[in-house]
């Protein structure tokens, strides 16, 4: 990378042209920072991160489809992020996901410089994986409405109602939705914590199932059972998992 010349590459992500103009201008005073790309939405941002490998990202929170938090969850790298937003209610959450700083619009020069200094000192630092942080930063008592998955630079949104089941695969979970499987870098426990426990059940060490999809349960072997989904998929149900499943199904009756 350009680190030999002590230059940093930055991305500016904001859905408003004029908001990007402000950041671009403030960066003019810093020739050591090169603007690699400007993105008008989260999809572009995810792609630009893969293409340009920036050292620093200025990230708006409120954007169509993918919010700044979604983007952060998807890029899952050690890039320092400075959030830029007109909303102060996300500040706490921003620091929970280890954002370098949180700038409020309208952005002033002094505040901007301070954020930039902090960011520079953090470049190259190892940070906790963003995808795990995003889960902890979720507001309490609020469950995900949709999941964001990245396949290469392609981003897919899966509304939780369309998630059939999830299967643990090493450091990933495979999300089964509408006949397709999407890999997401997350632990199954992390995913379980984000889902409404009244709609999704951990039926097995490696499986979470959407309660709506369970057609019937059949005995299988000595201590375990099988959950048969509406589309015929067969998932293993552990003893503990059966207990959880049964109590939820009983509640629904």
């Amino acid at each position: 990378m350009s680190s030999t010349r002590k230059r940093f590459g930055a991305l500016i992500v904001d859905d408003e042209d004029l908001a990007r103009v402000v950041i671009r201008e403030l960066l003019c005073a810093h020739p050591e920072i090169e603007i690699l790309a400007e993105c008008a939405n989260g999809f572009e941002a995810v792609k630009a991160v893969a293409d340009h490998k920036p050292d620093l990202i200025f990230l708006d929170v409120q954007m169509p489809k993918l919010t700044g938090f979604d983007v952060l969850e998807l890029i899952g790298t050690d890039v320092p992020v400075i959030f830029v937003t007109a909303y102060d209610q996300y500040a706490m959450r921003a620091f929970d996901v280890h954002a370098v700083d949180y700038l409020l619009k309208p952005v002033g020069k002094e505040r901007f410089e301070a954020a930039l200094e902090r960011a520079k000192s953090r470049i190259g630092e190892k940070m906790p994986a963003a995808y795990e942080l995003a889960a902890t930063a979720r507001p309490p008592q609020q469950f995900l409405e949709r999941l964001v998955v990245k396949d290469g630079t392609k981003v897919t949104l899966i509304p939780v109602a369309k998630l059939d089941y999830a299967e643990a695969q090493d450091d990933y979970v495979a999300l089964a939705s509408q006949g397709k499987k999407h890999l997401k870098q997350q632990t199954i426990a992390g995913l379980e914590a984000c889902l409404d426990p009244n709609a999704f059940v951990r039926i097995h060490r490696s499986y979470i199932v959407n309660l709506e999809r369970v057609a019937r349960i059949e005995p299988y072997g000595k201590d375990s059972r099988l959950a048969i989904l509406a589309d015929g998929t067969r998932l293993p149900v552990s003893k503990a998992g059966y207990g959880r499943l049964k109590s939820l199904l009983d509640e629904r009756k």
Binding site: D15, V22, Q62
Partner: protein
């Protein structure tokens, strides 16, 4: 202030004494040696004075309200007061009898009165107690009326405050984002920055001013809307497209202020802002058969997570329409596939907008 010292109440109070005096005259005249004339001659002036004196019952009544006074205190207060006033009553009766005895027709009145004094004593006592209870009735009437008035007043104040607060809502994020746009424009396009400052100033002045008014011509609301949309167009650029279909006759119709703006703001914040490619907002106003139909329609992303899709703006407009028109106004919200539509229907009022 004594509650009986209004003309109507004092009249009523005196009127209440008339039958009592009549009964007393009958009692004194029918028993013993006092004649009707003597009895009436003595009792009319005596009761007249005593009626005035009994107004003093107000003070012990006020100092010993029924709700908060224990029975012994209540009894002792009034019995002592009654005893004192009755003694005064007897002395008055004797004095009057003395004066009357100067008149030849009533020369024997003092002798005739003496045996009747116990009856008179009892009567004085009772009259005072009657006056006390009358005052208690007045007091509780007054208290309940006051409580009622207070409740009504607080209700009215609360509602006014609420309506005022609802009207004067300027979304702070709208302000911050607009200021950020201006800040960007100052170097890119200073002329546009100035224009934007003026738009924003106009919008704020109008919004704050409207908080004071109860009703405005639709044209004024549309003016405000133009400012708002012009500002948002600077922010969103080509992503925000607006179509207006305003029937000319509808412009003069009176509407509560800020009845459209919150809906259009919703359309921007929850509709256009969530669309990568932006979308269109349609505003229409039609007057027909004495009713005004207002519609705000926008494209929106059905997958957007925003849980506040029908945010405070809609609740706010709904409540204000209810406050003014009751069941005469009507709001319909339709969320089709990728279209959000709010329809208002309200009575078409015309005339001069009151201040």
């Amino acid at each position: 202030m004594h509650p009986l010292l209004t003309r109507a109440r004092f009249g009523l109070y005196l009127l209440a004494w008339v039958p009592l005096v009549a009964i007393l005259i009958y009692v004194l005249g029918a028993s013993g040696n006092m004649g009707w004339a003597e009895s009436a001659g003595l009792l009319f002036p005596l009761c007249g004075i005593y009626a005035a004196v009994c107004l003093a019952a107000w003070y012990p009544v006020k100092s010993a309200p029924l709700e908060t006074t224990s029975v012994p205190v209540l009894l002792s207060t009034h019995l002592v007061a009654a005893a004192l006033l009755t003694l005064l009553w007897i002395q008055l009766a004797k004095g009057l009898a003395y004066v009357l005895s100067r008149v030849p027709e009533f020369s024997k009145i003092q002798e005739h009165l003496a045996p009747q004094l116990p009856i008179l004593f009892g009567a004085g006592f009772l009259l005072y107690l009657l006056s006390v209870s009358y005052h208690y009735v007045i007091l509780s009437l007054e208290a309940s009326r006051e409580a009622e008035a207070r409740v009504m007043e607080t209700n009215v104040l609360a509602r006014e405050a609420e309506l005022k607060a609802l009207k004067a809502q300027v979304n702070p994020h709208f302000l911050f984002n607009s200021l950020n746009s201006i800040s960007a424009l100052t170097s890119v396009d200073p002329g546009k920055a100035r224009e934007m400052c003026i738009l924003l100033a106009d919008f704020l002045r109008m919004t704050l001013g409207l908080g004071e008014k109860n009703i405005i011509p639709l044209a004024e609301e549309l003016n405000l809307l133009d400012r708002f949309l012009a500002i948002e167009k600077v922010r969103f650029g080509a992503r925000l497209r607006v179509e207006e279909d305003i029937q000319e006759e509808s412009r003069a119709i009176l509407v509560p202020p800020l009845v459209l703006q919150p809906l259009v703001e919703n359309a921007v914040v929850h509709g256009i802002a969530n669309l990568t490619e932006g979308g269109c907002i349609k505003v229409s106003a039609q007057a027909q058969d004495g009713r005004l139909f207002l519609t705000v329609e926008n494209s929106f992303d059905p997958e957007a997570t925003s849980t506040r899709r029908n945010g405070m703006g809609l609740v706010n407009v709904r409540r204000r329409l209810e406050a003014r028109y009751g069941s005469e106004a009507n709001i319909q919200v339709n969320a089709a596939e990728d279209h959000f539509r709010v329809e208002l229907s309200l009575p078409a009022e015309t005339g001069d907008a009151p201040k």
